[in-house]
């Protein structure tokens, strides 16, 4: 995304949740053709798909996208422009790319991070009973949105 200007500096972390949400909204708007709706207060009881991208350099941590399997399938369908029934093998790849673009779009909005922070290849976990733990030393920044009425959580665990 060609942002007209950088919205924050790497030391301005209070602005980061808003930038995470903006980065996410842009990815869904441009790549899926969807407008995310107002943040959902409800948590996902048990996310069944988690996509993660590591960040290293001036910012170390993990950006992740959590949703349920129906939301993941619908995201893939919208992204590829194919019927929902035809997305099976592409779900993990699509969710990995979404997280990768959210992480990249986020860091590109922060002065000092665009050049100084690298992204890892995405990792996608799919299942029914799992937890993810990051060795972070501060609470995760979280953004909650609704995609086609289904909750999606974007999380940033930061290592100092």
């Amino acid at each position: 995304m060609n942002s007209p200007k950088l919205a924050a500096t790497s030391g301005d972390r209070e602005a980061w949740p808003a930038l995470m949400e903006l980065a996410t909204r842009e990815v869904f708007q441009l790549m899926l053709g969807c407008e995310l709706t107002q943040p959902a207060e409800e948590a996902i009881a048990s996310p069944s798909v988690t996509s993660m991208v590591g960040l290293a350099g001036k910012l170390c941590g993990v950006m992740s996208v959590h949703c349920d399997d129906k939301a993941a399938a619908l995201m893939t369908s919208k992204m590829l422009g194919v019927p929902l029934d035809n997305v099976g093998a592409d779900i993990s790849d699509a969710l990995g790319e979404i997280c990768n673009m959210v992480a990249g779009n986020f860091k590109n909005k922060i002065s000092g991070l665009s050049d100084g922070c690298m992204l890892s290849p995405p990792t996608v976990v799919m299942g029914s009973n799992y937890s993810t733990y990051a060795m972070a030393d501060s609470p995760a920044l979280q953004v909650r949105v609704l995609f086609e009425g289904r909750p999606v959580i974007i999380s940033l665990q930061i290592h100092s």
């Binding site: 995304m1 060609n2 790549m31 422009g81 592409d90 790849d93 590109n108 050049d115 992204l119 290849p121």
Partner: protein, 127 residues
């Protein structure tokens, strides 16, 4: 004019999206070759003449910058424009890609219109 394209990205989903964006940009695609990294792309170029390459930067085995550095030694790639499509959005990455020989740079996420804006001029220059 029908165009032969090589799309290089380690994500098969992204390769499909790039192809769809090219069609939405109005290109008549005569042939679409896909590769999952730079090494696969070099192999594909040994046997195929093409008109345009769209290439990610961060890929396993051989990344996009190393790939375009090797293109001058590939007969089928001589004079073929390369456009990078990547999440890396810093000015340093853009400068590095252009200095390695890329003709354009598209940041993910992107619109079909952004693809069109980059692709049409370089194809016009080539012809």
């Amino acid at each position: 004019m029908p165009v032969r394209v090589l799309i290089v990205d380690d994500s098969s989903v992204m390769r499909k999206i790039v192809e769809r964006s090219l069609r939405q940009a109005g290109l008549d695609l005569a042939q679409v070759l896909e590769a999952g990294n730079g090494a696969e792309a070099l192999t594909a170029l040994q046997a195929n003449a093409i008109d345009l390459i769209l290439c990610d930067i961060n890929m396993p085995v051989m990344d996009g910058l190393e790939f375009i550095k090797q293109l001058p030694g590939v007969e089928n790639a001589k004079g073929v424009p390369v456009i990078m499509i990547t999440t890396e959005g810093s000015e340093a990455h853009v400068v590095q890609a252009l200095s390695c020989g890329a003709r354009g740079y598209i940041r993910k996420p992107f619109t079909p219109e952004q693809v069109k804006t980059q692709v049409i001029p370089v194809l016009a220059d080539k012809s």
